[in-house]
Symmetry: C2
Subunit: 335 residues, 2 copies
């Protein structure tokens, strides 16, 4: 088990962190009859409901994005483990306002399996659920195998866009369409500077040697595309953007949203040093940053490092990302 | 120098982080003619201005609390080093809206000296500046030497209260009075789980052995009151609250605000585990939590650990802390 942690029993960290979040934010997120499902305070009424879900250890994701203008209900799992099908089903019901539910989640085997099962269970009860599977991690598979790519911090902007359109009263197909467009327009890449340990496992299931960094690392320590000595921040930014800019590709004159997330144990100060270089490189590339988010949005326990997410914006995505929202993880003024 | 950092030249981290913050939040904080002074976008007009300042390495403090309903201008220093007197003076001028300036800062030798000098410089130019010196760190000196105590994360709630009263149009003496009341009603304590390294120094100026924790540690690694093996989160919470509850003291039936801050490298998940126990103990102590803030508010580079801050609330402080504010570090909805 990692030293220097603020935990009790290593088997209880997910449940205890979730309980703490609910205790700390009673104005944003409340419990439901299902112990691992949480919902926004305001119930969904006569609009499409937004659901997501995933394993714990990525805080504030996923529960921290529940709130006005964002996610309506969330299914949570143990550390780095998918929520159950029953949990997803319960989240669908908790987000049902009579006009269907959009389940916007990440491309992991367990989540795919359990969401599919949950959709069937919900449909038996007369609830319509449609899904978008995020696959924004550009380093996780070649572009011609885009369906194999994992979902990472780009999910935040997918939720934001889908939820903002749902709030405007759009129907389920339109909400699904805009969430799909958001994630199709998004690329992310991570860089790991230290490993992390699932508390209940007691030791890391991967290693990053001191002084080394891993480009393209996944949110659970999945292998990246290159391991090399730690570079200065400006070279890290260049390496990361070299992965994602040509992949979509992002072209001169386009508008983008940038989300730069710490992986858990990297200080806030360093995220802003990295941001400076991201902004410089994007400007040199002829891109205009319309929305910027820097902080801990999608973490991996105590991993050091950061991820960069870029979303290409058309007028609709630009408008939806700028709409008011309020949650633990992301607040856009006005809500 | 610590490995696994996202930095360039170790001598440039403060300047580069500040530049990144300004680049990432043009809606909140802008530059001034003084390179180390930053101010809110909206100039101060016909009300008291709120200024703070301090060393870098505590991000989002101090610059991250500039914004509507919070700090108007901030003087920043190198990592863990006081801003200069000229920087404080420039911050006073940047926050001058014709009704005087309240400088609300922490009790450190360099800050005390430079603020005093800056106040004299500003007064020569006809600007009235009054000060409140935060000394909320209960572990930093005995209660009968309260003037020797350091200011830590309690400063955030002092700024919040003073700024909210200034926004209502109160005069300088009233703003100073409420900021003094806020800090006099506040106690904080930190617990360190790992050391931190000033990048330009290249090695830690203190040590916390793996598996050990230091109760009462300061925000620059100043020695605490006890070093012991790492305890479960619930015992950490009890130890920390045993330090601050009897010190004010906080009595049954009182209302409090809680601010729980990570020290930089402790994951968000663990802060919420700690919060659960803080809430339990405060409830058992007969205290009602009226405002709660959990996150990275006042950090110490890549130190692992957390601080707990409690403020006893009368009706006025309760009202002022609940008023809208918007900044990188703290947002209260409505602004």
């Amino acid at each position: 088990m990692p030293l220097n942690r603020i935990i009790n029993d290593p088997d209880d960290v997910a449940a205890e962190a979730l309980a703490g979040i609910v205790a700390a934010h009673p104005d944003l997120v409340i419990t439901t009859p299902h112990a691992r499902v949480f919902r926004a305070v305001q119930p969904v009424t006569n609009r499409v409901g937004i659901v997501t879900g995933g394993g714990s250890g990525h805080e504030p994701a996923f529960i921290g994005f529940v709130g006005p203008g964002l996610v309506d209900a969330v299914a949570t799992g143990e550390v780095f483990a998918s929520p159950t099908a029953r949990a997803f089903e319960a989240a669908f019901k908790a987000a049902d306002g009579g006009r269907g539910v959009a389940c916007l989640y990440g491309n992991y085997a367990g989540d795919n399996m359990n969401v599919k099962m949950a959709v069937k269970l919900a449909e038996r009860d007369g609830l319509t659920v449609k899904t978008v599977v995020a696959n924004d991690d550009a380093a996780s598979a070649p572009k011609d195998q885009i369906g194999k790519r994992r979902g990472v911090a780009g999910e935040v902007l997918m939720w934001k866009a889908g939820a903002a359109l749902a709030a405007e009263g759009a129907d389920l197909d339109a909400v699904i369409g805009v969430a799909q467009k958001a994630i199709d327009s998004t690329r992310s890449v991570g860089i790991g500077l230290s490993a992390c340990t699932i508390p209940a496992a007691g030791k890391p299931n991967f290693t990053i040697e001191p002084g080394m960094m891993e480009v393209g690392i996944g949110h659970h320590g999945e292998p990246g595309v290159a391991v090399m000595p730690v570079k200065p921040a400006r070279e890290m930014a260049a390496l990361m953007l070299d992965t994602i800019l040509p992949d979509l590709p992002f072209g001169r004159g386009e508008d983008v949203a940038v989300l730069l997330s710490g992986l858990g144990a990297t200080p806030v100060m360093e995220l802003y040093i990295l941001y400076t270089h991201v902004a410089e490189i994007l400007a040199a590339h002829g891109l205009t940053i319309r929305h910027r988010f820097v902080g801990n949005y999608f973490t991996s326990l105590e991993m050091m490092g950061a991820s960069i997410t870029l979303t290409r914006l058309d007028g609709e995505l630009d408008r939806l990302i700028g709409k008011p929202a309020r949650s633990i993880g992301l607040t856009v003024p006005g809500a």
